[in-house]
């Protein structure tokens, strides 16, 4: 995007190099200072805290470079919650992919105005308020909600059980909220596929499944990976959706971290949880970035 080669042209405005340099520093200052003070320094402080210890009686933090907080993280209760949380975010990402792919494919096969309208139709719900989008499912999934009643009618749900405050409810909420982020990159990848390739595959005797598996799917891989990043990353650190649809029963990683800071007040342990979440997301990004680069090379 920015990589367009731009020769390091001499700033024509001034000839004095000293004055020019001070201009340049002044341009860099606002962003750099803000990022340092409110982003980099706090994260560093958090990493330092994660190796600290808290006195339960006085709530004083001491810094002893202990690994206790990280050991506690491997504790059954927390590990269980974290793994279940990851299960939900992976499930939701796959859900988005399964729901989003046919939609993106259908849109990519349309032309002109219809295509624009359909794309807009996918995007508009994304413009509505995030809380409201999640809240909308409270009605549907509650005990006498539309979805619960429909499932009961079909015999898929027993009379006593309800969907809200379950992992299923949280997963549905994430799929609903992030679906546009999956459809858009898929659409971009699918739209680029030359219809002649499909024609050629057809002429060579490939059925619809053969065409999909051998032509469409491999060529849309960059879109699949990009979509999984766009959905998977925010879903891993999700806070609002489980707070609304998970109640107190179904917590996700983000809620566990926040509770340590806001309710328990154990900053060192909370920091260890937060740093681990950060590493998890960064690791996921590094792995998928390599995959994305390779997939783009092929197509």
């Amino acid at each position: 995007m920015v990589s367009a080669s731009r020769s390091p042209a001499v700033d024509p405005a001034t000839d004095a190099p000293g004055r020019r340099r001070s201009w340049r520093v002044a341009l860099l200052a606002p962003g750099l200072l803000w990022t340092l003070i409110f982003f980099v320094v706090p994260l560093v402080v958090m990493v330092v805290y994660s190796f600290g210890q808290i006195d339960i009686i006085t709530f004083q933090t001491t810094f002893g470079w202990t690994l206790d907080n990280y050991r506690r993280l491997a504790n059954d209760i927390y590990l269980h919650t974290i793994l279940r949380s990851l299960e939900m975010s992976i499930g939701a990402t796959i859900g988005c992919l399964l729901v989003g792919y046919p939609v993106a494919y259908t849109i990519a096969r349309q032309k002109g105005r219809t295509q624009t309208l359909l794309l807009l139709g996918v995007m508009v719900p994304f413009w509505t308020s995030f809380v409201v989008r999640t809240y909308a499912w409270v009605n549907l999934l509650s005990n006498d909600g539309l979805v619960t009643r429909a499932l009961r009618g079909l015999g898929l749900e027993s009379d006593s059980s309800q969907l809200i405050y379950t992992p299923t409810a949280v997963t549905i909420g994430i799929v609903y909220t992030y679906l546009p982020l999956m459809v858009l990159p898929l659409y971009v990848a699918l739209e680029r596929i030359d219809p002649q390739l499909l024609q050629a595959a057809s002429d060579l005797g490939a059925g619809w499944f053969g065409r999909f598996r051998r032509v469409v799917l491999p060529l849309s891989m960059p879109g699949v990976i990009a979509g999984c990043i766009l959905v998977g990353v925010p879903a891993t650190g999700e806070y609002v959706i489980p707070a609304i649809l998970g109640g107190d029963k179904t917590l996700m990683y983000g809620n566990v971290v926040a509770n340590q800071f806001l309710k328990v007040g154990d900053y060192p342990f909370g920091s260890a949880l937060a740093v681990s979440l950060m590493l998890l997301v960064t690791g996921f990004l590094l792995i998928t970035r390599g995959r994305l680069a390779r997939a783009e090379e092929i197509t």
Binding site: R6, P30, W34, F126, W127, W137, L179, V257
Partner: protein, 278 residues
């Protein structure tokens, strides 16, 4: 290809559209529902809206949301434009380094970033509240704004600016009369997007607002967890309308800009003449 639409995927797409619009549709419908228990349709009413509008907490939170959104947008734009201009002349390595910090501000979980700031504020006993929320919002908003401004700058040549300088315009005047007008579409899009991101944000506003400041989405989150009332639906529709209008405007400006893409990048002789005259 357009006529060989495979029926199953079209049907499925139609169902997905129902899935996308039905939940919000029900919220909108219920905000006009006279049945207080929301068990069925009790007739049309606007009483929940008048109740919400006369609720002083809703009004206060709306003002707080607006303050936060405007302040964080203004600061984010300054950061984005200056960073963008700096990047134009920076070495590839320096640019990559700044790019990395921009992306990190977007991709790291908001929960973590907001809590890190929370931790520092607590440690140095700096009170939570509107300034803290603004500080937090600018972290991600300035990153989005920088990406938008950068994308625009990447398509611009510096011919016009060089011409203005050759004609004797000072750097400040060149920026004001040439660079900024060319950047304007991107600045508007960035402003609208950051306004709506800020107005819509829950996590940072919740963690950094503390007991001193509450934005509308945070109020809504609290009300939802308490219990659902028809008034909540009315507030929800109000908040949604605000975010939707700003997002919609951003999209509209973007598509106008795309349509007029060539024109905005072109040499505007009037600007040059004006500079020459001075």
């Amino acid at each position: 290809m357009s006529h060989r639409l495979p029926a199953p995927s079209a049907v499925f797409t139609a169902l997905v559209f129902v899935f996308l619009y039905l939940p919000i549709g029900i919220v909108v419908l219920n905000s006009f529902n006279a049945d207080e228990a929301l068990l069925g349709w009790g007739g049309f009413t606007t009483q929940w809206y008048s109740q919400a509008f006369s609720n002083s907490r809703v009004r206060d939170d709306f003002v707080t949301s607006l303050q936060v959104a405007l302040a964080s947008t203004a600061i984010s734009l300054v950061i984005a434009v200056t960073a963008g201009l700096w990047m134009r002349r920076a070495s590839t390595r320096a640019r990559r380094a700044l790019d990395a910090t921009t992306y990190m501000r977007i991709v790291l979980p908001e929960v973590v970033v907001a809590l890190a700031l929370f931790l520092v504020l607590r440690r140095y006993e700096i009170p939570l509240g509107v300034p803290a929320i603004v500080a937090g919002h600018v972290i991600f908003n300035s990153a989005y704004a920088t990406l938008i401004i950068q994308a625009r700058l990447a398509t611009m040549t510096d011919v016009l600016e060089e011409a203005a300088a050759d004609l004797g315009a000072s750097p400040v005047r060149t920026f004001r009369r040439v660079t900024l007008p060319l950047l304007m579409p991107a600045v508007i899009v960035a402003a609208l997007l950051t306004l709506s991101f800020s107005f819509d944000d829950v996590v940072t506003s919740l963690f950094l607002g503390g007991p001193n400041a509450e934005t509308l989405p945070v109020l809504l989150l609290g009300l939802i967890r308490l219990h659902v009332t028809p008034e909540v639906n009315a507030i929800a529709v109000g908040v949604t309308a605000i975010t939707m209008v700003t997002f919609g405007l951003a999209a509209a400006v973007m598509s106008i800009r795309d349509a007029a893409g060539v024109r905005t990048g072109q040499v505007d002789p009037a600007t040059l003449e004006a500079e020459e005259a001075k």
